[in-house]
């Protein structure tokens, strides 16, 4: 399993892929950072990282499908899926190896972005507990999205289509909050509770305020595990029915 993990990591870092995506992430981060700082002069708000994360969620969310789009689609297209599935590795091992490799790349990006808080801490004060909490939630939210992106990639043989569908679903997650705020849904408390329960951004808000709720942790982890399990089932199902 480690060999597959290593190969996946290599395919990210031996190609420009990981670097281009990290650069994009840093660019978005830097852009968000600069605009928030610039707004400080005119607004009464203080600059805070959780606040920035929350308000620029929209941009960050679109990086994930780009990370995951190749995971299974490329294997299928290149015919290397046969090799993986005829190797002594089991399907769960294959899925986990791929998942952890993408999570590693995601972590690499997060570590890179620590440059900004460290820079700030030299010129001002950083509320570390709240920053750690928002990083943690960003990470948990990222892993859940990675698993969803991988699921889409396992359903497609074209990585571009996997990425596009991924973006649409991410957009859908963002829209959940707005959906919850519509009059009709607000007037139906039951539906409202379901919609808001699935809203990732709302959960992020709690983390960003420095509140670490077990409920949110369980939500993100169970969503990730469930989707990973779905990927395994999907691959097994395709083996049985493909022509």
């Amino acid at each position: 399993m480690f060999s597959l993990y290593k190969k996946e990591i290599q395919s990210f870092f031996y190609s420009p892929f990981a670097y281009v995506l990290s650069a994009l992430f840093m660019l978005i981060y830097g852009f968000a950072f600069v605009t928030r700082i610039a707004q400080m002069e005119t607004s009464v708000f203080q600059f805070s990282f959780p606040d920035m994360f929350y308000n620029h969620f929209f941009y960050f969310i679109f990086i994930i499908p780009l990370l995951t789009m190749r995971s299974f689609a490329d294997e299928r297209r290149g015919g290397t899926e046969v090799q993986l599935l005829t190797s002594p590795l089991t399907v769960p091992q294959i899925v986990l190896a791929k998942f952890f490799s993408i999570v590693t790349v995601f972590l690499f990006m997060l570590v890179l972005s620590l440059f900004f808080p460290i820079y700030i801490s030299q010129h001002g004060t950083v509320i570390w507990p709240s920053l750690i909490c928002s990083y943690l939630s960003f990470f948990l939210w990222g892993t859940a999205c990675i698993s969803i992106g991988m699921l889409l990639s396992s359903m497609q043989s074209s990585s571009i289509i996997a990425a596009i569908i991924g973006e649409i679903i991410m957009e859908g997650f963002l829209a959940l909050d707005q959906l919850a705020a519509t009059k009709w849904i607000e007037s139906n408390p039951k539906i409202n509770s379901v919609v808001t329960w699935f809203s990732m951004q709302r959960r992020f808000l709690f983390f960003a305020q420095g509140m670490f709720r077990l409920e949110d942790l369980v939500f993100f982890l169970s969503l990730t595990v469930m989707v990973l399990f779905w990927i395994i089932l999907h691959i097994e199902k395709r083996r049985r029915t493909q022509n």
């Binding site: 480690f2 060999s3 597959l4 290593k6 190969k7 290599q10 395919s11 031996y14 190609s15 290149g78 015919g79 290397t80 899926e81 046969v82 090799q83 993986l84 599935l85 005829t86 190797s87 002594p88 590795l89 089991t90 083996r239 049985r240 029915t241 493909q242 022509n243």
Partner: protein
């Protein structure tokens, strides 16, 4: 080594493979022959553990491919129709990865890679990107990944497709070499290739077994079907009588009147040596022999006959 029992595979309503049973012995090269779309790749994918069968069992080295997949897969080296290569990896790096996923022990990985590269003459190419290799070399890398870990069974799905003649003959020699200490299943739709390297052949068509036999037996069948064309000039009746008296003739299949006083007798022989007796009988009876030739179907024809028979049978079954 491998036992395939009542193997059946359905894709929805389509039956790709129907009730196949055969076995592969130790250190044997088994040819898997059939026209395109006969179900060769499906069968090989099932034996390799890529696709699950709908019914029936496959046992590799005593391990059931479904129940004990991990142990069974460790005994198999598989080269699919499209070699499973990552174009952005280097040859050595790729082989190291293959050794890793096949569970080769860490201490043996380096040795295994060297062995595979040496055997396929890839040592000079070790630092090259797979994307930059020629088709022939890509195929070699594909074979190298199959033999890594020294599995007892090698499954090669149409390994010579798209190679030039010298590469094909090189590859055949290599497969022959492999057959000395491995069991090999080699699929192809080209009969010449199978008869050049295999000990036994399994012929399938439309997912059904047509024949399992040795090449020698198939060749014997081909000779049995040989027909002598005897063209004579003169009295047809006298010639018929003369031929009837000769022992070693199975039957006279046909007599064709050419209209210009010559007749062609199509005669099935028990033994080719009877030709001389026929010749002298003709001369003794004063019949002019214009031409004498053997119509000898080759293996190709036997193969075609076998697959055609199956086709017409399944058609009449449907009716």
């Amino acid at each position: 080594m491998v036992e395939v029992k009542n193997l059946t595979k359905h894709y929805g309503h389509v039956t790709a493979v129907n009730d196949l049973s055969f076995e592969i012995r130790d250190n044997e090269i088994l040819g898997f022959l059939g026209p395109n779309g006969a179900g060769k790749s499906t069968t090989m994918n099932i034996i390799a553990g890529y696709l699950p069968s709908s019914e029936g069992t496959v046992t590799v080295c005593g391990h059931d491919i479904k129940e004990d997949a991990r142990a069974a897969k460790k005994c198999i080296g598989y080269l699919p129709e499209i070699p499973p290569l990552y174009p952005d990896m280097r040859v050595e790096e790729y082989l190291r990865y293959c050794a890793g996923i096949k569970g080769v022990k860490r201490a043996n990985i380096k040795k295994e890679i060297e062995r595979a590269m040496e055997r396929l003459q890839l040592t000079d190419m070790r630092r090259r990107l797979i994307a930059n290799l020629s088709k022939g070399y890509k195929q070699r890398v594909g074979l190298a990944q199959a033999i890594i870990g020294d599995p007892e069974l090698l499954i090669l799905d149409e390994p010579t497709v798209g190679l030039d003649p010298s590469q094909v003959s090189e590859l055949r020699n290599f497969i022959r070499e492999l057959g000395k200490d491995h069991s090999v299943i080699l699929s192809s739709h080209i009969l010449g290739e199978i008869s050049a390297v295999c000990n036994r052949v399994v012929i399938i068509n439309k997912g059904e077994l047509c024949a399992v036999d040795t090449i020698e037996n198939l060749e014997r069948k081909a000779t049995d079907a040989a027909v002598l064309n005897l063209t004579i000039e003169g009295d047809q009746l006298a010639a018929s009588f003369a031929i009837d008296g000769i022992s070693g003739i199975k039957e006279v299949k046909d007599i064709i009147d050419m209209g210009d006083g010559t007749f062609i007798f199509k005669i099935a022989l028990e033994d080719e040596k009877v030709r001389q007796t026929i010749m002298s009988a003709m001369v003794a009876n004063g019949i002019n022999v214009v031409e004498m030739s053997m119509d000898k179907p080759d293996l190709e024809k036997v193969f075609l006959d076998l697959t055609r028979k199956k086709r017409s049978r399944s058609k009449s079954d449907k009716k």
